[in-house]
Amino acid sequence: MNARLDNSVIRACQKGNKAAYAVLVKRYYKSVFALCLGMLGNVHDAEDTTQEAMLKGLLKIKKLHKPDHFEWWILQIARNLCIDSFRRQKRVRVSNVEESRPSSPKSDDNDNLQQAIRRLPQELRVPLTMFYFDGKNAKRIAETLNISHSRACHRIRTARQQLHELLTERTNNEQRL
């Protein structure tokens, strides 16, 4: 889909055509999910926040002045919702079954991978999820995160190396059990 078509869809949404918004959901859902997963580190929370962000986008689309900036705009909405979520977690220690569940030594590869991704620092996790889950290259990650291209490359590299260390550490621990 090209930018012109995006713009016409956004204009239709702004005129009250909610059905047109489904096109934007389809196109940007993955980007929003990748950012939320990178920021929150938890698949379920990321799914909830992505849905919330897309709905909030629909409610506020009339406020979007530059249709070209839709991706940036919807990612900012998602980012702010993730920050709200941190604030809530900080203020209320809501018991989270998934967080407190001890990891099983027989957990499968996907569980191990999720745990390792969650243990990465946020500044590395976000570019990693954008790279693998959204298929963004280093240049687009740099643009999205407003950092230099070399820093984006550095973060992807470090994230990948630290992920390996976390996975290796876990495998070693499991072997000891």
Binding site: V25, L59, K62, I77, V92, N110, L113, F131, F133, I156
Partner: protein, 441 residues
């Protein structure tokens, strides 16, 4: 494995992620032929990549499901409205008799509503009336509550498109005044009352149509979000008619999507405007977290002086808007930049180079560094610890360090914790926050 291998590991990660340049690929392949340890490392990363791909594919199918559900919910919500409107119109327009009946019904309804209006009898209330009444937000003045206690007071103005123009926030009631935050045209001015007595100016962008934290208190957004959640079937709403002696109407909203949030909205039945919203998170009585918003004024004209900085004359000004402050990160990682910024700051203070120290302390003037923190001036640095990341809107790190000072002619070792943060509006620059020097004495 030899000394090159550590460098090569970085390149192997780049190779796997496809960001390695062609020239480096050839050099790396030569090394891989010779080094078994690096070959194992490359193999391990590739195996993990296969796992990652499999995980992403699984996520992809889940994502499609969620995405479709969301799209269908949106499509259903507009189809049902369109179909209902169209079918009623079609039935009415089918014959002259139905047309006449509809006209009689409309005229009757108008007469009846005029009659009811005259007698000032409250008409049936629908939440949509509140959604409608709250639209076209131009200004609000609100008081927020946290755990039933007064918290912050906000005044905000918006343009005709609902974009935030300016706001004022008043936090707490100290003996010397309140912490004030003013924002307009991308510049935030914060006044920290004595003992700080500081006016900090920095660039803060207004993203997403509302500054950080402000949007959650915006009554129009709160109402719209509740309306959308009820429409989506994620929340249930109960409108309670007040007893005759109570003027206001209470609306109870409970979540049906598993979230432990209860909301109570108080609506003025005449204006239909929301005058108070209380959110209660958590189910266990002793763990309930309360956040409230009282709408003191809505769409009332605001005094322009509210948004102009007018602080006491002896206030120390820290300007991060017109001055470039902090240290440039260059190619350093965030953690490296944090340690370097703190190291350079302590070094500059030890040499009494206040021009450099002021820049590294985010523009804190010499007066602040000498008068307030002169007794803590380092003479030599012993060690700087590892930065500890603090979750925030912009990255913030806490760093413990050890350095020597001179007090009454005697050498002394102190261990303060400093806060080093990214400069707002100046990407890639870091500074040591001035006030923590005092706090961690």
């Amino acid at each position: 494995m030899n000394s090159d291998c550590e460098t090569m590991k970085g390149q192997i990660a780049d190779l796997v992620t496809g960001i390695l340049s062609e020239a480096q690929v050839q050099k790396l392949q030569k090394h891989l032929k010779e080094c078994a340890a690096c070959r194992d490392y490359a193999r391990a990363l590739r195996n993990e990549d296969a796992l990652l791909t499999e995980f992403v594919e699984k996520m992809d199918s889940n994502m499609k499901h969620h995405q479709e559900r969301l799209s269908q919910a949106i499509a259903r919500s507009c189809q049902s409205r369109q179909t209902a409107t169209l079918s009623i119109r079609r039935i009415i327009m089918r014959s002259p008799i139905t047309k006449l009946a509809a006209t009689v019904a409309i005229v009757g309804a108008v007469i009846l509503s005029i009659h009811l209006w005259d007698r000032s009898t409250p008409s049936a209330y629908a939440f949509e009336q509140t959604v409608e009444a709250m639209q076209g937000k131009r200004s609000f003045h609100i008081q927020t509550y946290f755990q039933q206690r007064r918290k912050d007071e906000f005044w905000a103005e918006f343009d005709e498109k609902g974009k935030l123009l300016r706001y004022r926030q008043k936090e707490g009631e100290g003996p010397n005044g309140s912490l004030l935050t003013l924002w307009e045209n991308g510049v935030q001015s914060q006044y920290f009352p004595p003992p700080e007595g500081v006016h900090l100016m920095k660039r803060v962008d207004n993203t997403d149509g509302g500054l950080e934290g402000l949007e959650e208190f915006d009554p129009q957004t709160i109402v719209q979000e509740i309306h959308a959640l009820v429409a989506e079937g994620k929340a249930a709403m109960e409108v309670q008619d007040p007893p005759p002696y109570v003027r206001l109407k209470a609306i109870h909203v409970t979540r049906t999507d598993g979230k432990s949030l209860r909301q109570v909205l108080v609506v003025d039945p005449v204006t239909k405007l929301v005058v108070r919203v209380d959110n209660y998170w958590g189910m266990e009585p002793e763990q309930v977290f309360h956040k409230g918003t009282e709408v003191l004024e809505y769409n009332e004209p605001m005094d322009p002086r509210l948004f102009k900085p007018n602080f006491p004359e002896d206030t120390i000004v820290i300007d991060q808007v017109t001055r470039e402050v902090g240290m440039d990160q260059g190619e350093m990682t965030d953690e490296e930049a944090v340690v370097e910024t703190l190291g350079q700051t302590l070094g500059a203070l030890a040499k009494e180079d206040y021009t450099t120290a002021s820049k590294l302390c985010g523009g804190a003037p010499r007066r602040l560094l000498t008068e307030r923190f002169g007794h803590l001036r380092p003479v030599s640095t012993v060690s700087i610890g590892s930065p500890e990341y603090v979750q925030n809107v912009l990255p913030v790190y806490r760093v413990k360090c050890t350095y020597r000072i001179e007090r009454d002619g005697q050498a002394e070792t102190v261990n303060p914790t400093f806060t080093v943060r990214a400069v707002s509006g100046q990407p890639g620059r870091w500074y040591v926050t001035w006030y923590v020097l005092n706090k961690d004495d």
